[in-house]
């Protein structure tokens, strides 16, 4: 029973981060959410020094920064990446300065290490209820506004041209991200919370090219690495945030290796079988130019002796990125 609450907390944290991370990536607001994650850290540092309720103040700070970033990026002529990086530097400086200027009492508290490195002790029933509430509210929002959200996911510029308020929906997404980060911050730590937001979706993007599968895989991976990180933290007495971040990075690396291996195997198979997914077209210096339909890449690989060759390239290659991984 003692382990149940942290376990449930890790599972839900991973799920909500993986779910929101997918939308963050497809909406193209990764830099914005990164800045919000660090504003939550600054909020937590300020609250610690001033003696406010850390969770509530962090939540307030994250939500306020989400609204500010949403407003600035829609109004300012300056590129939003520059705005975000400027705010990111400022907020990090605020966080560090607040901690530096605080009393020795604050520096020696468990709360400080919780904010910076995360702690399983920070997972409480209240936080689990908060995470469930945020996740449920987001799901309700995503279902009600599915037509607009689908239009944004499919083509943001076209959706905007057709009258979908893309900036409003992006700001709403950032609000959900800000709220989730404010709650999860004390579990994973302020410096590593974004690893749960980005690494699962980055792994999902590598494991599948289909958006609906990515949408499914991302929260599953998020939950899995969060639980595995929690266990690693228990077993080896490590900071829970670093354990989760490390495992999510390992998952990302394994996903990359899997993608490269799958691409290679598919290309090999297509060379051996004329009816495979790709076809061999031209032979040049013992190498064959392969058009690979599934992974949308064009690559050179070694020619087997029995290779049937053709001439010319399909017109589709003109719109495919050229990836010479094996050349």
């Amino acid at each position: 029973m003692l382990l149940m609450i942290p376990l449930l907390g890790a599972l839900l944290s991973g799920f909500i981060c993986g779910m929101l991370g997918y939308y963050v990536q497809r909406y193209g607001v990764t830099t914005l959410s990164f800045t919000i994650a660090h504003s939550a850290l600054a909020g937590a540092a300020i609250s610690l020094v001033l003696g406010f309720n850390t969770t509530l103040f962090t939540l307030f700070f994250a939500v306020a920064s989400a609204l500010l970033i949403g407003y600035l990026t829609s109004k300012s002529p300056i590129r939003r990446e520059l705005i975000c990086m400027g705010l990111f530097s400022l907020l990090n400086a605020v966080a560090i300065l607040m901690l530096y200027m605080s009393s020795t009492n604050v520096l020696s508290t468990v709360q400080l290490s919780t904010i910076l490195w995360g702690s399983v002790l920070a997972i409480t029933c209240e936080k689990i209820i908060a995470i469930v509430t945020i996740a449920a509210t987001f799901l309700v929002y995503a279902v009600i506004f599915k037509p607009q959200i689908d239009a944004i996911l499919f083509d943001q510029k076209l959706a905007e041209a057709e009258g979908v308020n893309v900036k409003l929906h992006s700001t709403i997404l950032l609000l959900f991200v800000g709220s989730a980060i404010a709650i999860i911050l004390r579990i994973t730590g302020g410096f590593l919370v974004f690893s749960l937001l980005y690494n699962p979706v980055a792994s999902a993007l590598l494991l599948s090219k289909r958006a609906n599968i990515q949408q499914l895989i991302s929260p599953i991976l998020g939950s899995s690495v969060a639980i595995a990180g929690l266990f690693a933290s228990f077993m080896y007495n490590l900071p829970v945030g670093a354990s989760i971040a490390l495992l999510s990075s390992v998952t990302l690396l394994l996903s990359y290796v899997s993608r490269v291996t799958i691409n290679y195997m598919l290309a090999q198979r297509s060379v051996r079988s004329k009816e495979g997914i790709g076809e061999a077209f031209t032979v040049h210096l013992n190498r064959v130019l392969i058009y690979q339909n599934v992974s949308d890449t064009v690559r050179f690989i070694t020619v087997p002796a029995e290779l049937p060759t053709g001439t010319g390239l399909p017109s589709e290659t003109q719109r495919s990125p050229i990836n010479l991984l094996d050349s």
């Binding site: 499919f154 041209a161 958006a211």
Partner: protein, 235 residues
């Protein structure tokens, strides 16, 4: 200067500069497009045609001057509501092979700006979907993922999506770029008929390669190096 009622688009001394660019993409543009006309914008590559069309839609905001779409300044918050009366087929429409949305779903998305999940599709949707899809020879492709369709087929799907919105103003950016001769003529015929059928609707077509549309265009705007060099009224 107040926008005149009855103008679909009005640009007053408009300058657009992309962030980081040394010189403006378009400069000192003055243009008025009334309702019920077919306008062709032509010019060489890099002349500023797409910038001009995106400025009309309010996707790009002028650094100087004002742009009005259906009488509303594109810097106004109400621009989202106005855009719901417009349709746009972008130049860079191609989707990657793994894009999973079906062609029908993509067309349906065109009606998403006014809908939440509980709102039904309009009564005319199914009829017009079949009509335009049949006319453009994509009826049998509606249930297929958009990503596996060829460039020409995808472009036709986006044209169906634009038309099914029943727009007051139709923006088509290089709509013939991936189409064969027969399809180009079909699209021209459909757009011309659309304007005739939906009285008061306008279409603005950007094209640098196809001359057939010139026969039907009421206004031909020539742009070069970011400046309008000629405006010809044919009717």
């Amino acid at each position: 200067m107040q926008p005149i009622r009855g103008e679909a688009v009005r640009l007053e001394n408009v300058w657009i500069t992309y962030s980081g660019a040394g010189k403006p993409a378009i400069r000192n543009i003055n243009l008025s497009i009334p309702f019920g006309v077919l306008t062709l914008i032509r010019g060489p590559n890099g002349a500023g045609k797409t910038t001009l069309i995106e400025t009309c839609l309010g996707l790009l905001k002028p650094i100087k001057g004002n742009a009005y779409l259906l009488g509303v300044n594109t810097k106004d918050e109400r621009i989202f509501e106005v855009r719901r009366k417009c349709s746009y087929v972008p130049q860079d429409f191609m989707k990657p092979p793994y894009e999973h949305y079906t062609a029908k779903k993509v067309i349906e998305m065109g009606l998403s700006s006014n809908r939440v999940i509980t709102d039904p599709l309009p009564d005319y949707f199914q009829y017009e979907l079949e009509f335009y899809a049949k006319e453009l020879d994509v009826l049998s492709l509606l249930e297929k993922p958009i990503g596996i369709l060829s460039g020409g087929q995808q472009q036709k799907v986006f044209i169906v999506r634009a038309l099914i919105r029943r727009p007051k103003l139709l923006f088509l950016d290089e709509p013939f770029s991936s189409l064969d001769k027969e399809s180009r003529e079909k699209v021209t015929e459909i757009v011309v008929n659309y304007i005739k059928k939906h009285r008061g609707s306008s279409a603005i077509i950007v094209s640098h390669s196809f001359s057939k549309i010139e026969e039907y265009a009421d206004i031909i705007v020539t742009i070069n190096d970011g400046v309008i060099t000629d405006i010809r009224f044919q009717r």
